[in-house]
């Protein structure tokens, strides 16, 4: 099993969700995060001063998939999240040793 963590632009979430559903992903977990990267933060006004906000709002999607589904899932995310502008985000893949479903206590791929 693999864990995919994708950091994307918040307004692409709906598209990414649809794309993942389309390749057969049935579960995922989403977190609101702040990103620092090549995309620069915005200038903000504050009473006679302007300051740079270093962080940009991002959405992180975490999903654990079977090894077979990995490539399709990554491709789906890349396609749905892409706007072509700096700051579209990154996807990181890592290894998951075990998965357990709380409701039933079952383990392994069937949990996903």
């Amino acid at each position: 099993m693999k864990k995919i963590e994708a950091i994307i632009k918040p307004f692409r979430l709906d598209e990414v969700l649809e794309a993942l559903k389309a390749v057969g992903v049935t579960g995922m977990t989403v977190t609101e995060v702040k990103g620092f990267g090549r995309q620069k933060g915005r200038k903000e006004l504050y009473r006679g001063a302007e300051h740079e906000v270093e962080f940009v709002p991002k959405t992180m999607i975490a999903l654990v998939v079977s090894d077979e589904l990995l490539d399709q899932s990554v491709d789906a995310i890349v396609e749905a999240a892409r706007t072509g502008k700096i700051g579209d985000g990154k996807i990181f893949v890592s290894e998951i040793g075990e998965a357990i479903r709380v409701r039933t206590g079952e383990r392994g791929k069937s949990v996903l």
Partner: protein, 423 residues
């Protein structure tokens, strides 16, 4: 002015025991209006609390709100116990009121001040006494100890506010005698709080990280809500100061609204020119700046003239606030830039464009113009010096600042044992 003579007159009447006579003068309409105005000014306290609290970081929200609420708690009592007497009591000395009306002794439901019950006058004036120290709190948030703040505003009210109110509005007050115009408290409230704010932060020092980190407002909708309540309440503040529901009050109301709108526009245009965008916080700040600017002249300046008064007020205060970072003093929420500078602008421009029921430069009355400046400077200097001394003493005895760790973790927890949000 006329209003003040009425008051003086009827206070005299009451002391002479001419209750029957006094009773003839009660106007239910005027009383209704002053009572409403009192309520409106009271609402400015939560309004100010929201206005300020929206601008601080989320770890200092409650402590900021509490500074306004505590002013309601402490000064409302102080006013009944001794403040009213200190400002409006006595036999008409030039510098202080007296001690004859401690605990409002001698006043009853039948006592009148002009056409309204004295109790109404006491309550209305009390609201001004409450809000003034709360204004100062904007400069000291995010680092001043709550307990010491409480003591500070109590002392400040007694030693600074009450005398200054007497100078300008009290029978025999020296600025009143010289004919200084201050319809609703530009000098008494805004200049005094602005000058005092400077003195406090002089002693208190900067917040950790000032000019290094950006102190981003945690909730601008909160600040805008507060600004809305302030705008609303300011109708009571200014038009209520006519102490009657008459043409002067109506003009004050309309001039107030007009100046507020003009201040908003002035600030936004200045901001647009300097930074390219008009901000929401700029709108809130500009409308307050406009309101401050028109406060001393509300009952003397026509609605048409209120436009430049408010507009220039907005522009000046914007630039005053911009200078803060350059000068490097940490007036956290810009009490000096808005109330101090705006109050000065208002006091002086009133001496230029006031035409209703008074003279000014425009009508060739140079004396009035000079008096305006003298009044503004005198109050600023007095407020600054006395506040500085109070703060030095309090700092020596108790320390004004919370510990560095408490400042980092936020005053909500250190001072009040709470967190603002658990969402």
């Amino acid at each position: 002015m006329k209003v003040l003579f009425y008051i003086v007159f009827s206070v005299v009447a009451i002391f002479c025991g001419t209750d029957a006579f006094a009773a003839e003068l009660l106007s239910a309409g005027d009383t209704a209006w002053v009572m409403v105005s009192t309520a409106l000014v009271l609402l400015m306290l939560p309004g100010l609390a929201l206005f300020y609290a929206g601008m601080v970081r989320s770890k200092n929200v409650l402590s900021t709100v509490m500074m306004s609420f505590m002013a309601m708690g402490v000064i409302a009592i102080e006013w009944v116990v001794l403040g009213y007497s200190g400002a409006f009591g006595g036999m008409g000395g030039p510098l202080f009121g007296g001690f004859d009306q401690l605990m409002l002794s001698g006043i009853g439901p039948a006592s009148l001040s002009g056409t309204i019950p004295t109790y109404s006058f006491v309550a209305f004036q009390g609201m001004f006494a409450i809000i003034t120290p709360a204004l100062i709190s904007g400069a000291v948030v995010e680092r001043m100890k709550f307990g010491v703040y409480t003591l500070f505003i109590l002392l400040w009210s007694i030693i600074v506010y009450n005398p200054v109110a007497h100078w300008v509005w009290g029978e025999g007050g020296w600025l009143l005698e010289h004919g200084a115009l201050d319809f609703a408290g530009g000098t008494v409230i805004h200049i005094s709080s602005g000058a005092s704010a400077l003195a406090v932060i002089w002693v208190l020092g900067k917040r950790r990280g000032f000019l290094k980190e950006a102190f981003v407002p945690h909730s601008l909708p909160m600040t805008l809500t507060g600004a809305g309540l302030l705008w609303f309440g300011w109708f009571g503040f200014n038009a209520g100061s006519a102490l009657a529901a008459n043409g002067t009050a109506a003009m004050a109301l309309l001039s107030t609204n007009t100046a507020s709108a003009a201040g908003l526009l002035g600030w936004l245009i200045a901001e647009k020119i300097k930074f390219g965008k008009p901000s929401a916080l700029g709108a809130a700040s500009g409308c307050v700046a406009g309101l401050v600017a028109i406060t001393p002249g509300a009952g003397f300046v026509t609605p048409a003239w209120a436009i430049p008064v408010g507009f220039v007020g907005g522009v000046i205060c914007f630039y005053a606030v911009c200078m803060k970072t350059r000068l490097g003093y940490d007036d956290a929420l810009d009490v000096i830039g808005i109330h101090g500078v705006g109050g000065f602008w208002g006091a002086i421009i009133t001496g230029v464009v006031a035409t209703v029921g008074t003279g000014s430069l425009m009508t060739g009355d140079t004396r009035q113009f000079v008096v305006q400046i003298v009044g503004a400077v005198a109050v600023a200097v007095y407020a600054f010096i006395v506040t500085y001394v109070i703060c030095r003493i309090l700092d020596a005895v108790f320390g004004l600042r919370v510990s560095s760790a408490d400042e980092l973790n936020g005053l909500d927890h250190s001072e009040h044992g709470e967190g603002a949000y658990n969402i």
